[in-house]
């Protein structure tokens, strides 16, 4: 697969369709791919990688890249194409300056997911059929790729690309995974239990802002929390509750726009399950406004930006949310 991507990128560079390529670059170890730009065949040969560890969603980089002049080729996994569409819908990416290739994906893993499975000290990794074989300093580990997958990939929306100029490999199918099991479990808790759950999870936050900075729905040029003139800037919170508010406000801000790409939870150094906040909003939107998937389309109104007479009243949201 990797060589197919490289060949196609070289051809598009050579015929002038694009003048640079956004992809993933191999690192020191087997798993530490970095999003990177390549502008020649030689650079592609030297570093371009595409495998089970290339999880980073490249779509947000196109906000800047599409404004740098010339045309950039970007490789997008199926889930990344939802983010791409959403960014187009919000007029954040200049479509004519990007060339999109949809790439197939069998699910991604990452070093944190492996760590949670007790696999550390990784020196090499390779895919063998359906298995991931990991060499570690302390011996070899073999694990089915399906088990090694990141949480977001276990809840994959399907292997179908929502947008592309061309595609490599067969088009996949939409899937309908159970994305809301954990949300339902949280809803089943008493409000005190739920409050305690989130206070506990968010208490680990070091406010590094990785979740916000990686999020394709967070593209404000200056976040209010970074802007001293906003009056609510928040480099350090006065209390832990104020700190928690950052996450709740961010979840509200991306509600209806979050495609559930899972980047926030992937990057959190403290492994806070941020995706559960977003999925709660997605579930509620589905319930109150009808099934909706952000990023399915690059145009059109969205449930929270279109007014209809039948819109649910806040009081109904409140009671249906289990707060009567």
């Amino acid at each position: 697969m990797q060589s197919q991507l490289i060949e196609r990128a070289k051809a598009l560079l050579a015929d002038g369709t694009v003048d640079r390529v956004l992809g993933w670059k191999a690192g020191e170890f087997a798993y530490d791919m970095t999003p990177a730009l390549f502008s020649s065949a030689q650079e592609l040969d030297e570093g371009f990688a595409y495998d089970a560890f290339c999880g980073a969603n490249l779509s947000k980089y196109l906000v800047k890249e599409s404004r740098k002049g010339g045309r950039v080729l970007a490789f997008l996994k199926p889930c990344d194409t939802y983010s791409m569409n959403q960014l187009l819908k919000e007029h954040r990416i200049l479509r004519e300056n990007v060339y999109l290739i949809g790439v197939p994906c069998q699910g991604k893993t990452d070093v944190e997911t492996l760590r949670a499975l007790g696999i550390t000290s990784i020196t090499a990794a390779r895919q063998e059929g359906e298995d991931l074989v990991v060499e570690t300093l302390y011996g070899q580990r073999r694990i089915p790729l399906a088990e090694a997958m990141a949480e977001r990939c276990k809840a994959c929306k399907g292997k179908k690309h929502m947008i592309y100029d061309e595609r490599i490999g067969e088009e996949g199918e939409l899937e309908n995974p159970d994305r809301f099991g954990q949300v339902a479990a949280l809803e089943a808790m008493s409000s005190e239990e739920r409050f305690a759950f989130w206070r506990g999870e968010l208490s680990r936050c070091i406010r590094c802002n990785a979740c916000r900075n990686v999020c394709p729905a967070c593209t404000c040029e200056q976040c209010v929390f970074d802007n001293p003139a906003s009056g609510v800037d928040n480099k350090a919170a006065a209390t832990s509750f104020e700190e928690n508010m950052f996450h709740i406000i961010r979840a509200f801000h991306v509600a209806g726009r979050c495609t559930d790409c899972g980047e926030c939870s992937r990057v959190c150094p403290q492994r806070i399950p941020l995706h559960l906040l977003n999925r709660k909003f997605i579930k509620d939107i589905n319930t109150f406004y009808g099934e909706y998937q952000a990023g399915e389309e690059a145009e059109g109104r969205t449930p929270l930006t279109a007014y209809t007479e039948g819109d649910v009243e806040p009081s109904v949201v409140y009671t249906k949310g289990g707060n009567d």
Binding site: F29, T120, R204, C208, N209, R212, Q222, K235, A236, R271
Partner: protein, 342 residues
Amino acid sequence: MKKLPLSQMPALYAAMAQGGALYLPVDNAAGDAQFTRWQEGMELSRALNTVRSAKDFFFPQTENLVSFRMQGKTIEIIDPRTEGEDFVLFGVRACDARSFTILDKVFLADPVDSYYKSRREHGTVVTLACTRPEETCFCQSFGIDPADPEGDAACWLTEDALYITARTAKGEALLARLDGLLEDADPAPVEAQKAQTAAILAKLPLAQFTTRSFGGDVLMKAFDSPKWASLSEACLGCGTCTFVCPTCQCYDIRDFDTGHGIQRYRCWDSCMYSDFTKMAHGNPRTSQLERFRQRFMHKLVYFPANNDGEYGCVGCGRCLAKCPISMNIVKVAKALEGDVHE
């Protein structure tokens, strides 16, 4: 060298916590090690190291420096500090132990930071030798021996016992307090463990990594390298690398308006942030390239230039493990190597 059977660990913790607090790495809800105040029943994490470094105990993420209260035309100045509590930090790894030496060079140099100094005085650092270093570890590059860590006292865990030895007067005082629990020990098992760990260290993927070509002498060569552009291009400008780093030491001082006064506090800052060192005219580093460069120039060039060649990194590997885009000091140093040599 003293020892104590593992079955006696709870008693050891209780004794260390006597007259103050004991903090040790305990698994949190996410299953990661986190320094936690010890309570009856808590167990030491088996993880190699904590996600947050131990610097928090001396240089916390936020702290109030001073408060001002307005009453009519008078301003009352209030020092919010209370007499600190003595505490023991147990289970600190060799890399983090060295980070305190680096932080000391910043906070204990003139003008001495009295907030930091007071915490240092109250804390006793008990280190724990590593036996299973990970692929991201490169403490050896900075002359740190993880099998024989620094600290006020150092420990080694074997299958059946904890070995402990004091290295400073503070460590001696701690051991004296623990005396009833400890027995004299033959250091042979510790020596055997050191040899075993040394063999693993030699095989680490970063065993040969070195930052030796960097330092004040190559300032302009490093600064002017054309490689910064590609190295920094994917950087998210988050603060993960700086906040998990045991040696990152930059902070911001801000005022919080309470409505009837001001709380002046400091909090960790990150050179990766767009408002870092922002002044009336704006931020002197206007691009992420410049901000990214600052972090690595500080660690590899400016810090050693001002501190007798000591680099601002202890090789703990946290930034390697945690950067969302997997960009880190090792990749940077390797990429720049050629440019600084020329």
